[in-house]
């Protein structure tokens, strides 16, 4: 079972995903926006996996992904996005998606989320081992 950081600014989404993850047997730490998420990561706490929304006010998911990219031995990243054309920031969004280990487009099924986490944590654990 994995120790997961969930960065999502929308309260309802955060509530739902936390419930799903907990029912899937994972431990969840919630951050309600990009800056809180970065703060937690900078504090040195280790996570087996980071789930981040991409479009958030102020510091967004792209910055979170860039921060993790710069870390040695970083945890796997799952980017979740609302989809839809986001006007001029499309390129940055594409970049972020290529850096993330998996991208899920909202609304996704609970099963898909859990399967993706299973796959990434297992892969990462295999790598480590």
């Amino acid at each position: 079972m994995a120790n997961i950081l969930l960065i999502e600014d929308m309260k309802g989404v955060r509530l739902a995903l936390t419930a799903v993850l907990k029912h899937g047997g994972h431990t969840v730490t919630e951050a309600d926006d990009g800056s809180t998420g970065l703060e937690i990561l900078r504090s040195g706490r280790r996570f087996d996996l980071v789930i981040t929304d991409i479009l958030m006010p102020t510091i967004d998911g792209i910055e979170v992904i860039m921060f993790l990219e710069a870390q040695a031995n970083r945890p796997p990243i799952v980017a979740i996005s609302g989809g839809g054309s986001q006007m001029p920031s499309d390129k940055a969004l594409m970049l972020a998606k290529t850096k993330a280990d998996a991208v899920l487009s909202k609304p996704f099924d609970n099963a898909d989320l859990l399967a993706t986490i299973e796959r990434l944590v297992h892969k990462s654990g295999t790598k480590k081992g």
Binding site: A16, L17, L55, M56, D60, G84, M87, S89, P107, D109
Partner: protein, 695 residues
């Protein structure tokens, strides 16, 4: 010996008693200023010879001069009366003698004595008419003093009597002289008239031609020569019809005849032809006379009206041009002379008003053609213009002939009349029925364009709402199992479904907004709670704008009340401006929407083109790069866009402008490079309004 007396100075003389009768008598003789006559010359010669003096005169004393009918020894014909010795002579009876003027106190300082010709001796006998008036004298003068003896007195008396006799004979012959004179003068007058006529004929720019009874040319002035190119000798004796063009000669020859002139003396327009064959329009004025002695029987004055014809042609062409242009543009014009209340209508204007056969109407007739709801406003516009205010364009409707209303947009202004007084109003009106229809279509299209721009944001928002719904419902399904649910499960499900319910409702609100946005409806204005409508749109924008853009709302607590707008259009405008701002900021930045209230002063409202009053001031400010003046000044123009080809229609801001104007509001933009842009909407606030719901 001749002496010049003409240098004598003016001086007053006191006229003798009965002077008026004497002067009248003198004038009856009609002798003054006549030619010298031998009978009188002979008398003065005799006087000089017989008395042995160098100077003898027949002097006639006029009002202020003495005039010499005959003068021996003097070369002047007259002298001023005041220095005349004769003036003394005629005041007495019989001969008047001055033996030595120098010794006589009356004449010692007389200029004829002290100066040229230095007279010393004078003897004069009055020339007295049968009715007792002394007309003048026969006098003898010398430069030496003399004594006149009895013989001398007799000689002078006799010769004076002879002179008076000659004068009487002459007067008796007066009638005869008169007749001769009259004949002489009338002949001279005739000759002079002829000379004047000839001079005038020479300088006039009109051709003057005279013809005899056979219509052969017998007189031809210089202008005729220049106009037609023929020398007088070339046309003399030619039929006058040779001046007409070959093509029209047969038809028009009859117009250049004495008969035609007698029938109708009005000027006629004919086709002339010059010697070189060039045809030209000419106007002919004919005159005829009956004089058995004159060779000429009638005359023609011809004016070359080429220029005038050209001008008339130009005028008629530009008239056609104007009428056609007005027809194509659907634009009519009118011209109201206020004092006599006549509105002259252009053809197109008459047609637009549904009065195709009228060209002039009164103000009331004009107003009666407008839709009754628009009459008061139109009347107000005209009254405003009459006070000298500029009229903005206004819209009014005219009931159509067959169906529907014709929508006209017009403006008018006060102008100076022909007499320099400001008493005319000139106006135009354009049929914008089609344009309004197109504008409505355009607005609808713009709404969809804005919606398209928002599609990504809307999808994002909906996806975010669907995520918890999907996840939580799915999760809850796992709680459905045989047997009653546990306390924990029930508690969890309660929390989940609360969230699902909330998000589903949020989703419904978004769909509502979109539908409302895209709904095709006329822009009907209604009274709305402005702040509530604005906040509802803000909520929508909050959800659909990219998350990189922070939306900040600053609503002054005091701002509250109603406005007459179209709520859908308000959403559209705010969304449009917000989408533009997001584009300008590249998806990253802060969008501040603020609302306040303000009383606009006369100056400010004038500058904005609105009526003064209280306004909602809705400002949408971005933190984008701003724009230079060159762009700022054009952004409300239709089809002006800074977006790459294919990305923008360029209609967004012009539609915003049009909508706000239709609310009697205004929109302005302030921006500078590097300082973002602020669009400010001024929307009239309704005061003392109680909403429908509160009634």
């Amino acid at each position: 010996m001749l002496r010049d007396l003409s240098i004598a100075k003016d001086c007053p003389s006191v006229p003798p008693q009965g002077e008026a009768g004497r002067i009248a008598a003198l004038h009856r003789y009609r002798i003054l200023d006549t030619e010298a006559e031998p009978a009188f010359d002979r008398i003065v010669k005799l006087a000089a010879l017989l008395l042995d003096v160098p100077i003898a005169l027949i002097s006639l004393v006029d009002t202020d001069r003495q005039w010499f009918k005959a003068a021996l020894g003097l070369k002047v014909r007259e002298t001023p009366r005041c220095i005349a010795f004769c003036d003394h002579a005629i005041r007495g009876e019989g001969i008047f003698v001055v033996p030595d003027a120098k010794a006589d106190p009356r004449f010692a300082d007389n200029s004829l004595v002290t100066g040229e010709p230095f007279l010393r001796f004078y003897a004069g006998v009055p020339l007295v008419t049968s009715d007792g008036y002394a007309l003048g004298t026969l006098c003898a003068l010398d430069l030496e003093p003399q004594q006149l003896d009895a013989r001398g007195v007799t000689i002078l008396n006799e010769l004076a009597a002879q002179a008076m006799h000659e004068l009487d004979v002459r007067a008796a012959l007066g009638d005869l002289y008169d007749q001769v004179d009259r004949g002489y003068h009338s002949e001279r007058a005739l000759r002079s008239t002829n000379l004047q006529l000839a001079a005038l004929l020479n300088v006039t720019a009109n051709a003057v031609v005279a013809a005899d009874s056979e219509t052969r040319i017998i007189a031809w002035n210089r202008a005729a020569e220049e106009m037609f190119g023929y020398k007088p000798q070339e046309v003399a004796g030619q039929p006058i019809s040779c001046l007409l063009s070959d093509r029209h000669r047969t038809a028009e020859a009859g117009s250049l005849s004495k008969d035609a002139t007698m029938r109708d003396g009005s000027p006629r327009l004919l086709h002339g032809q010059r010697k070189n064959g060039q045809e030209f329009p000419m106007e002919a004025f004919l005159a005829c006379w009956d004089d058995p002695l004159a060779a000429a029987s009638f005359g023609v004055i011809i004016r070359d009206v080429t220029l005038r014809s050209q001008r008339l042609e130009e005028i008629s062409r530009s008239r056609v041009h104007l009428a056609e242009a007005q027809r194509i543009a659907g634009l009519g014009s009118w011209d109201w002379t206020v004092d006599d209340d006549v509105i002259t209508l252009s053809e197109q204007m008459a047609w637009l008003l549904g009065l195709p056969d009228e060209r002039a109407v009164t103000k009331e007739q004009f107003l009666s053609r407008l839709h009754e709801d628009d009459r008061a406003a139109f009347r107000g516009e005209v009254a405003r213009v009459l006070t000298g205010d500029l009229s903005p364009s206004y819209t009014f409707r005219v009931p159509g002939e067959t169906s529907g209303l014709r929508i006209l947009r017009g403006s008018c202004r006060l102008v100076e009349g022909w007499d320099g007084r400001v008493n005319r109003v000139i106006g135009v009106a354009q049929d914008i029925t089609d344009l309004s229809r197109r504008e409505a279509v355009e607005r609808q299209r713009e709404k969809l364009v804005a919606l398209g721009e928002l599609a990504g944001g809307v999808a994002h928002e909906l996806n975010n709402l669907l995520q918890p719904i999907l996840s939580l419902v799915d999760l809850s399904l796992g709680f459905i199992h045989p047997g009653p649910p546990t306390e924990d499960e029930l508690e969890e499900m309660h929390a989940y479904f609360t969230c699902v319910l909330d998000y589903t409702r949020q989703g419904r609100e978004i769909v509502r907004q979109i539908l409302r946005f895209a709904r095709k409806e006329g822009a009907v204005l209604s009274v709305v709670d402005f702040v509530a409508e604005m906040q509802s749109t803000l909520g929508f924008l909050h959800g659909v704008l990219p998350s990189g853009v922070g939306l900040v709302a600053e609503i002054e607590p005091s701002a509250a009340g109603y406005a007459r707008v179209n709520a859908v259009e308000l959403t559209q405008i705010m969304t449009n401006l917000a989408v533009n701002a997001v584009y300008a900021m590249g998806g990253q930045g802060r969008l501040t929407v603020s609302l306040s209230e303000s009383d606009l002063s006369v100056e400010v409202s004038h500058a904005l083109g609105v009526e003064p009053g209280r306004f909602f001031v809705l400002a949408i400010a971005d933190t984008g790069p701003g724009m230079p003046e060159a762009i700022r000044s054009r952004i409300f123009e239709p089809f002006f866009t800074t977006k790459p080809v294919g990305e923008g229609t360029g209609l967004g801001l012009s539609v915003v402008h049009g909508i706000v104007q239709s609310w009697a509001g205004a929109v302005e933009v302030t921006s500078a490079v590097g300082q973002g842009a602020t669009f400010t909407l001024y929307i009239p606030k309704l005061h003392d309004f109680v909403s429908d719901g509160e009634i």
